[in-house]
């Protein structure tokens, strides 16, 4: 694969398509949240999604992971192809989810020990050897910039960590799945700026290995990380384009320019 770390090396036109989304509409009990989104996400790119509240960003992520199954009122129409496979036609949705790591906006430290939080996904995948799990746990916690803080209390409850630590634990847990696709939903809400920067560095490294979808309400974060960025507004995907191009004002829609410039939202 491409080893370089400059943004333009990733998600190029010739990279294979990881996710293809056609005519995706999402509604809750008849009310449309996301209307007719068409876009594709390429392998090994960081795909940023920006937009104000109620733009449909989180619902979009939920649909990609088939999390609409948890909520009977959530209606998803259109096709989503993951590695070319229509995810609605999959016979084992758990296998799909195990390949997609999700980081929710609010930290979810499961009420297990720190160790068990991170070891859970490998265990579900069938890894039982303590030595292997130890390696995975340490690597994922280190990558999530949490290892130094918790290495002496791996046996304490994950739900008792501070908010920022729990968020990094969530990231470590998502990484422990060894995912092909990592979806982060406003991960920096509960994390301090210094830690945010450390995690952003990790994400930049990760893009050599996996595909990342980064939903963020910080437009500058999208600029720092994303190869391409989509702007969602009120359930509409207004625009998709290379991040630098959008931020330099080369946009098709005036609303994109206004949002990036901070004139609304």
């Amino acid at each position: 694969m491409v080893a370089g770390s400059i943004a333009s090396a990733h998600g190029r036109e010739d990279s294979p398509v990881k996710l293809e989304i056609d005519d995706l509409s999402i509604g809750y009990g008849g009310q449309t949240i996301l209307d007719n989104v068409n876009l594709s996400i390429r392998e090994h790119e960081i795909f940023g999604i920006i937009g104000p509240a109620n733009a449909g960003k989180t619902s979009f992520l939920k649909a990609l992971n088939r999390m609409d199954m948890f909520n009977s009122s959530m209606q998803v129409d259109g096709t989503i192809r993951f590695n070319g496979r229509d995810i609605k036609a999959l016979r084992n949705v758990y296998a799909l989810r195990s390949r997609i790591g999700v980081v929710f906006p609010l930290p979810v430290g499961l009420p297990l020990t720190v160790y068990d939080n991170v070891a859970m996904a490998p265990r579900l995948a069938g890894t039982t050897k303590k030595a292997e799990l130890d390696v995975i746990v340490e690597r994922c916690l280190t990558r999530a910039a949490l290892w130094d803080e918790v290495k002496d209390r791996l046996k304490s409850l994950g739900s008792l960590l501070s908010g920022g630590q729990q968020q990094r634990l969530t990231i470590a847990r998502a990484l422990s799945q060894n995912p092909e696709l990592l979806m982060l939903d406003e991960f920096s809400i509960a994390v301090d700026p210094v830690t945010t920067m450390r995690i952003e560095d990790v994400l930049k490294e990760l893009r050599n290995e996996i595909t990342i979808i980064l939903v963020t309400n910080l437009v500058q974060q999208a600029r720092r990380l994303a190869d391409r960025t989509a702007f969602f507004l009120g359930g509409e995907c207004v625009e998709v384009g290379p991040t630098e191009q959008l931020f330099q004002g080369d946009v098709k829609d005036q609303r994109t320019r206004d949002y990036i410039a901070g004139r609304f939202g």
Partner: protein, 321 residues
């Protein structure tokens, strides 16, 4: 408006229109203040009364049993002798071992039946059932929990008794088995209800986080929800044990009420509670028999107290180490 801050803080027509608060208001107690104090006093009385009643009951039963405990009671005999013969003319003995064994065997069997049923039901209702099924099941379980114990005793006496005689070909059906089943069925709904509450108290975000990792429904339940609800579930079980220990009427009707150290589930036994219920009305107030019954009461009180205290500490999440 002259005051910019006031204007900014509340729009025109808002509370600021009532005029600015004067310094003298700090010393004027209005109706809200008195209502607050009054309510505080009322809830304080309500809260404290529970403690007063507990202490009052303890003092009462202790007072009634005291004469026996410090008089003729032989501690060794009381706890180790299976002979409960308080009405013997020449040599009355007060051994509760057989009664303790009766209560323990019935409660033990009841828990063997109730724990799997109630935990299974609670997991189904809380984790797997959806929509209407869940609603109806919840209502039904709560309805079951409200059936009076005398009705259960009746079922034991008139349905279970002939059934056990017929199925197992035994001479009598009023046995540990009968009472254990009845008590198990009786305790299961309330345990289900408490256990289901404990499972429901586990936040959905835990479930979603685990499912997002690719865990199946059952894996989420066993690896995340049950550990998270562990304290509440243990509390439910201990509550069931307490219920079994304290139950009187159903046990009186279904055990056969025979003083006996049970050697199998087809033996008749007698429970501590049933003994008090059956004999207290026929004793002379202040007699040894009367006081011995109260001593049983003290024993039950202490045991139930310990069980409930344990349940409470467990629910509050006292952890090992």
């Amino acid at each position: 408006m002259a005051n910019d801050i006031a204007e900014g803080a509340s729009p025109a027509g808002g509370p600021a229109q009532r005029g600015r608060i004067q310094a003298t208001d700090f010393d004027r107690r209005d109706a809200d203040w008195y209502i607050d104090q009054g309510i505080q006093l009322l809830v304080f009385i309500g809260g404290i009364s529970a403690i007063v009643f507990i202490i009052g009951i303890f003092v009462f039963i202790t007072k009634e049993g005291f004469g026996f405990i410090f008089g003729e009671m032989d501690f060794g005999q009381f706890f180790t002798s299976p002979r409960w013969r308080p009405t013997s003319e020449y040599n009355p003995t007060y051994g509760i071992l057989a009664l303790v064994a009766g209560t323990a065997s019935v409660t033990g069997l009841a828990m063997l039946i109730a724990i799997p049923f109630s935990l299974g039901a609670a997991i189904y209702i809380a984790e797997f059932a959806t929509g209407k099924t869940r609603e109806y099941l919840k209502i039904l379980v709560e309805l079951l929990a409200a059936i009076p114990s005398i009705v259960w005793g009746f079922i034991g006496l008139t349905i279970m008794n002939p059934l056990i005689i017929k199925i197992f070909d035994v001479p009598i059906g009023l046995t540990v088995l009968n009472a254990g089943v009845i008590l198990g069925l009786m305790a299961a709904p309330i345990m289900t209800s408490i256990a289901e509450d404990a499972l429901k108290a586990v936040p959905d975000r835990y479930r979603e986080a685990a499912e997002a990792m690719g865990a199946t429904h059952w894996q989420v339940t066993i690896k995340v929800v049950l550990p998270a609800a562990r304290n509440g579930l243990l509390g439910a079980v201990l509550l069931g044990v307490g219920r079994g220990f304290g139950e009187t009427m159903a046990v009186l009707m279904a055990t056969g009420h025979a003083i006996n150290l049970p050697s199998s589930i087809f033996d008749s036994v007698r429970a501590l509670t049933a003994t008090i219920a059956a004999e207290l009305g026929e004793t002379a107030v202040g007699s040894n028999h009367y006081m011995a019954l109260f001593t049983i009461g003290i024993f039950l009180f202490v045991v139930t107290f310990v069980i409930n205290l344990t349940a409470d500490l467990v629910v509050r999440g006292v952890r090992k180490g």
